[in-house]
């Protein structure tokens, strides 16, 4: 092409095509970098990842965004991030308040489904999972610390979330709204926790009327306590990726 004189139409056309191509290259590359910027800049708070998620940078690197973890989850706790969440399009996360992972599947199906090892395959039991750690964020709002009971649907009549009540149906989770409670002292977070010894109620006064939830080392951060807490906003929250013994973030 360089042999053509500058004024020739063919030279001009090929020059324009070259410039267009540079534009295309910069445009597509720019768009792809734009999807990455919010991820490194951490413009959004950390989100709860599915059980077995490896460390965040490696998790983001290895996730192929196929959604197979979404498909196997019996309570559809796992969602895929969209463009506005600025955390990697198509990467799975759990919004525990809306739908926690209640280990209805028992065998940690999402981990088995993951084709890339973003969810660590060495984990075979729910007790080995460490998604984060529950924390009583506002103890004074807790019904139990006020010595109050709870009657009715834990999250109201419109709540879509599911939970497996082993005593009702071992194999099929049911809507939380279909399982009203009548409790003299609210202990929902302890009652529905799927992990043994992860959370317990400790008396905070001498008569034992008022109690407070205390998180123990067995907590895996599944978020059932956050989902089931009947107070708005929730008294108990999950600190994503926090490990036992780490100071408060």
């Amino acid at each position: 092409m360089s042999k053509l004189p500058n004024s020739s139409p063919r030279y001009q056309a090929s020059r324009r095509r070259f410039l267009r191509t540079v534009g295309l290259f910069v445009g597509v590359l720019g768009a792809s970098l734009a999807t990455f910027l919010p991820v490194i800049a951490k413009w959004v708070p950390a989100r709860l990842r599915p059980p077995g998620a490896i460390d965040e940078p490696e998790f983001l690197a290895s996730c192929i965004k196929c959604g197979q973890c979404v498909q196997v989850c019996p309570v559809e706790a796992i969602r895929l991030a969209d463009i506005d969440e600025a955390m990697g399009i198509g990467v799975p996360y759990i919004d525990a308040r809306a739908q926690a992972c209640d280990f209805s599947c028992d065998a940690v199906q999402c981990i088995l489904a993951c084709p890339t090892g973003s969810l660590n395959h060495t984990i075979v039991k729910k007790e080995e999972v460490r998604m984060g750690l529950a924390r009583v964020a506002s103890p004074d709002k807790c019904l139990a610390t006020q010595g109050l009971g709870f009657k009715g649907q834990a999250r109201g009549a419109d709540f879509q979330g599911l939970l497996r009540y082993t005593e009702i149906d071992r194999w099929n989770p049911i809507p939380v709204r279909d399982h009203p409670y009548d409790l003299a002292l609210c202990d929902l977070c302890v009652r529905e926790c799927p992990i043994d010894n992860a959370i317990s109620l400790q008396p905070i006064d001498t008569e034992g009327k008022r109690k407070m939830p205390v998180i123990n080392e067995a907590c895996v951060g599944c978020g059932v306590c956050e989902m089931i807490c009947p107070v708005e906003p929730t008294v108990i929250v999950i600190d994503e990726r926090k490990m036992w013994g780490e100071g408060t973030a």
Binding site: T35, I64, K65, C66, I83, G90, G117
Partner: protein, 328 residues
């Protein structure tokens, strides 16, 4: 096999070669044709012109296009329905899946993950190798035109684009095809350097496939933008000039025995096939006097969509499994 070195170079952006040395048989056919053209009566010429005009107006078979669209819809529907009615036969999306329990992973998406994560996971290797084997057998870029859900959207965008071009409202703005190879390398390098599979985030194939299965997402806006570019600015821009996934399937297809072959003797050299082709550089050989052999294998960038077969009035383009003719 679909690919020889020339076909691969053409796929990476090189201009198709004009062969100076033609085989004797090919030369003989070209000569005979020259002679025939000289002896054409005005009526015969008018007949040819009419034939081409009708083809361009859409008077031709749509057999392969219909089969192809049905295949894309059915395959993608399998994945969607499998999730909706929870039968777990087709799990995952076009990027990575388990089909009847077999792992599958898109080759370039898997490469991105491996380069970013720097650890190779056994299921991913199994999935990728499975996909490579499937598409070596089925013709590489046939994935694009027979499975890829974005391709179907781009087919429709292309139809609109061609209508607008025919009305002279817009013009096609071609890019340099070589940029696709550069994208392939740059996205691979970025995955390695950044430790993040950059391309997988904005891959429209993944976005469309996930939207079909898990419900619509805002990321579809990006796909919509790409389609607008393809309608109003540059014909089939993503598939022709960007998609590293497609390029990867093209490389796999170089080993494939499934291909489209061109037969010189009956060809009228109207280049109707060229006009409908997604990758017209693979059909340079149909131009008058260009074919160096009596039968030519269409190059590895060919998506095996069959559009050229649909429009060809002389059956000079055919699907072929290489080696099968030797057995018969």
């Amino acid at each position: 096999m679909k690919g020889n070195l020339d076909a691969l170079l053409v796929m990476f952006g090189k201009e198709p070669k004009k062969y100076k040395r033609l085989t004797e048989q090919a030369q003989a056919i070209h000569l005979v044709k020259k002679e025939q053209i000289r002896r054409l009566t005005p009526e015969e010429i008018a007949e040819f012109k009419q034939e081409l005009k009708e083809i361009k107006q859409g008077v031709h078979s749509n057999k392969w296009r219909n089969r192809r669209w049905m295949t894309i819809i059915i395959v993608n529907l399998f994945f969607t329905l499998s999730f909706w009615i929870d039968i777990q036969l087709f799990e995952g999306s076009m990027i990575a899946s388990r089909v009847f329990g077999f792992h599958m992973a898109d080759i370039y998406s898997a490469l991105q993950v491996v380069l970013a994560y720097k650890i190779v996971f056994i299921n991913l290797i199994i999935g990728t190798v499975t996909v490579v084997i499937i598409w070596v057998l089925l013709g590489g870029r046939a994935f694009c035109s027979w499975i890829c859900p974005y391709h179907l959207l781009a087919d429709l965008a292309e139809k609109i684009h061609l209508k607008l071009v025919a009305k002279k409202w817009i013009k096609d703005h071609p890019f340099h095809r070589g940029v696709r190879g550069i994208f392939w390398i740059v996205f691979a390098l970025l995955a390695f350097i950044l430790g993040y599979a950059l391309f997988n985030s904005l891959n429209p194939v993944g976005i469309v496939s996930r939207a079909l299965i898990y419900g619509p997402s805002l990321a579809l806006l990006w796909v919509f933008l790409l389609l607008l570019v393809e309608i109003f600015y540059s014909r089939r821009a993503w598939c022709r000039y960007v998609c590293p996934m497609g390029l990867t399937y093209g490389m796999v297809g170089a080993l494939s025995p499934l291909q489209i072959s061109y037969h010189l003797s009956g060809c009228h050299h109207e280049a109707a096939c060229n006009a409908v082709c997604e990758v017209p550089h693979v059909l340079e050989c149909v131009k008058k006097g260009r074919a160096d052999q009596v039968k030519i294998d269409i190059g590895t960038d060919c998506t095996l969509c069959g559009a050229c077969i649909d429009v060809c009035p002389t059956q000079s383009l055919r699907f072929e499994i290489k080696g099968l003719s030797l057995i018969n």
